[in-house]
């Protein structure tokens, strides 16, 4: 019953509150004498947004930077000790290695498969249906995707019927011994990556497919007339023309690969050497209660993402100049 009241209050109350704010602000500003109103008005419209951005993004980023130079309970300065931990601790080194693995494999597979599906489906009549099938997992949470794939990789001892799809299919091969895919490092990381690839390939496919449709067909027709094979056509003409879209897809995949958490948390709970930096931070925060270590991991992630940030800013400024 309480929850019902909460729901009602929220659905009616929040919009009312927000519309009320801007109504009051506008009313107050328009009553101000002449000049003052023009100066203060934009800031009143921006104020709620700037407030949230400052409290939840700017202030905590600065705060995390500060905490990364303090000890576990954030009281005494420890210099660079937390960063030394990030780059020397044995478990952290595995986490960093796994991030590297994700970065390369996940990006390569999502962009590669996305491109393959986009190019292939471009040539058939049931393109729309095939594409929405591959895109479908994007709707699903990584938590659910992890359950789905954990079930796919399920292992039963040899001699009993395999209920995991992968082991069952491979058991059709004579002499195959079922494997516990998620247990044995470092290969188990690849199976975690497969789950994430299943989700994100559809995304790469959609943006690459859109770019593909943007290439004028005359260009390809001309090459065909000149006797180019389909293979040459793809590598010499289509692929270079897709270059900027591929670059965008890569940056988005890289950002995701660096910060991914859910798949590791749900599929293996960070066991069997599958932890990555995001998972390690969670552990430092809630298991070890070491805020210094956790903050340093956060800063390292931010630094790793800075090149993408710079890339985005540059692309934005280019777009603005052509507006």
């Amino acid at each position: 019953m309480d929850r019902l009241w909460l729901a009602a209050a929220v659905v009616a109350g929040i919009p009312l509150l927000l519309v009320g704010y801007i109504t009051l602000a506008e009313g107050a500003v328009s009553r101000l004498p002449g000049r003052g109103s023009g100066w203060i008005r934009p800031w009143l419209w921006l104020a709620p947004g700037l407030f949230f951005i400052t409290v939840f993004l700017i202030y905590p980023t600065v705060g995390t930077l500060r905490l990364s130079f303090l000890g576990p309970d954030s009281t005494r300065p420890v210099g660079l000790a937390n960063y030394v931990f990030v780059f020397t601790d044995k478990s952290m080194l595995v986490a960093l290695r796994n991030n590297g693995l994700w970065l390369v494999l996940f990006t390569l597979l999502t962009v590669g498969l996305g491109l393959l599906v986009a190019v292939l489906t471009d040539r058939v009549r049931y393109e729309a249906a095939a594409k929405s099938l591959v895109f479908l997992p994007m709707a699903v949470s990584f938590t659910a995707a992890s359950v789905i794939w954990k079930f796919m990789f399920d292992y039963r001892p040899p001699g009993t019927p395999q209920t995991g799809t992968l082991n069952a299919v491979l058991s059709l091969i004579p002499g195959f011994q079922p494997r516990a895919w998620l247990i044995n490092p470092p290969l188990n990381n690849v199976f975690l990556i497969v789950a994430a690839v299943w989700v994100w390939t559809g995304f790469c496919m959609v943006i690459l497919s859109a770019a593909l449709k943007g290439i004028p067909s005359e260009v390809q027709e001309a090459a065909r007339v000149d006797g180019a094979t389909e293979w040459q056509l793809f590598w010499r003409i289509t692929f270079p023309l897709l270059g900027s879209t591929v670059a965008v897809a890569i940056t988005i995949m890289v950002v995701f690969a660096l910060k991914t958490f859910d798949v590791v948390y749900v599929m293996t709970n960070g066991n069997y050497d599958t932890q990555n930096t995001a998972f390690a931070q969670y552990e430092q925060l809630f298991v070890n209660h070491d805020f210094g270590h956790a903050a340093a991991i956060g800063v390292v992630l931010l630094i790793a993402i800075l090149p993408v940030l710079a890339f985005n800013l540059r692309r934005f400024q280019q777009q603005e100049s052509t507006r």
Binding site: W45, S141, K259
Partner: protein, 296 residues
């Protein structure tokens, strides 16, 4: 274009046409295999969630298609009542709806100011918003958590609404500013001549003409929050009374281990709403996701 193709098709004699069809067989084969690979895991999940426990534990889900055809709703009943999925589903809604409405409206105010008002620092400030798009949430957790603990917001719905608002804003402001900035200038000028103030222009002109953009963004933000696990884990903790579906499922994977009939049912419950959105609002879904993907 179509006429040319028709003529060409008519000109090709039957035998080479068959040959061409056969030549395209590998293409179709590759596509069908990829589609099957993509569909198979979800089908396995769905089928298993309707099978009795003893069968799920001892036989593969594909054997469900042989007689005896044994299916049951028992798994759903059990996870919804005994394993907290019913409460969690409501929690997810209670979290996701406000966490979509609040940032959207606030972002629309800010986007309107960025697009149609002149003030010093406008460009610089917007550049900051673009930069914040990819800042990893991991860089923000600790100070915000400290703040929440001091204010008593940790473990509350209010806290997670505010957090999702903060995290969702840069993207929402960025997209809406681009969209609202593209609206025709004449529209605003004629409204000004008619004596309309900013309030009227925003609520009578900007919002109604931006419905498509707002819908795409709303769907993106809603699914983002609905599917989120990490932010909920950090700010809500593990209490079952406030846990959304994602947190409950991740707890179940630890506690149930091999209880696949329950895990699959729970996972499917969490997927039902996003899938309905996917099939019902596919156009907005795709455009929202594409636009939203720049988010960090």
């Amino acid at each position: 274009m179509a006429a040319i193709e028709l003529r060409r098709a008519a000109a090709v004699p039957v035998a080479p046409r068959l040959e061409r069809r056969l030549g395209r067989l590998p293409l179709h084969l590759v596509i069908v295999v990829i589609c099957a690979l993509w569909l198979l895991p979800s089908v396995g999940l769905l089928v298993s969630s309707f099978r009795p426990p003893q069968l799920v534990a001892t036989t593969g889900w594909w054997t469900a298609f042989h007689p005896p055809f044994e299916f049951t709703l028992q798994n759903y009943r059990q996870v919804l009542s005994t394993y907290n999925m019913g409460t969690s589903f409501v929690n997810s809604l209670l979290i996701a709806v406000p966490a979509t409405v609040i940032p959207l409206l606030i972002a629309a105010y800010a986007a309107y100011a960025f697009a149609w008002m002149r003030f010093p620092g406008r460009q610089g400030l917007f550049l900051v918003v673009v930069g914040l798009l990819v800042v990893p949430l991991q860089t923000t957790f600790i100070p915000v958590l400290h703040l929440f603990v001091q204010l008593g917001l940790a473990g509350t719905f209010l806290g997670i609404w505010l957090a999702h608002t903060g995290y969702g804003l840069p993207l929402a402001i960025y997209l809406l500013r681009n969209f609202i900035g593209e609206l025709p200038k004449d529209m605003f000028e004629s409204a000004l001549i008619d004596g309309a103030g900013h309030w009227t222009m925003f609520f009578r002109l900007v919002l109604p003409t931006s419905v498509a953009a707002l819908a795409s963004l709303a769907i993106f933000q809603f699914l983002w929050v609905w599917n989120d696990l990490l932010v909920a884990l950090i700010y809500l903790g593990g209490q079952p009374s406030v846990a959304p579906v994602t947190v409950t499922i991740s707890n179940l994977t630890n506690s149930l281990g091999q209880g696949w009939q329950l895990l699959t049912a729970a996972a499917f419950i969490s997927m039902a709403l996003p899938l309905a959105v996917f099939f019902g609002l596919q156009r907005y879904f795709a455009s929202g996701l594409l636009a939203g993907s720049v988010k960090g």
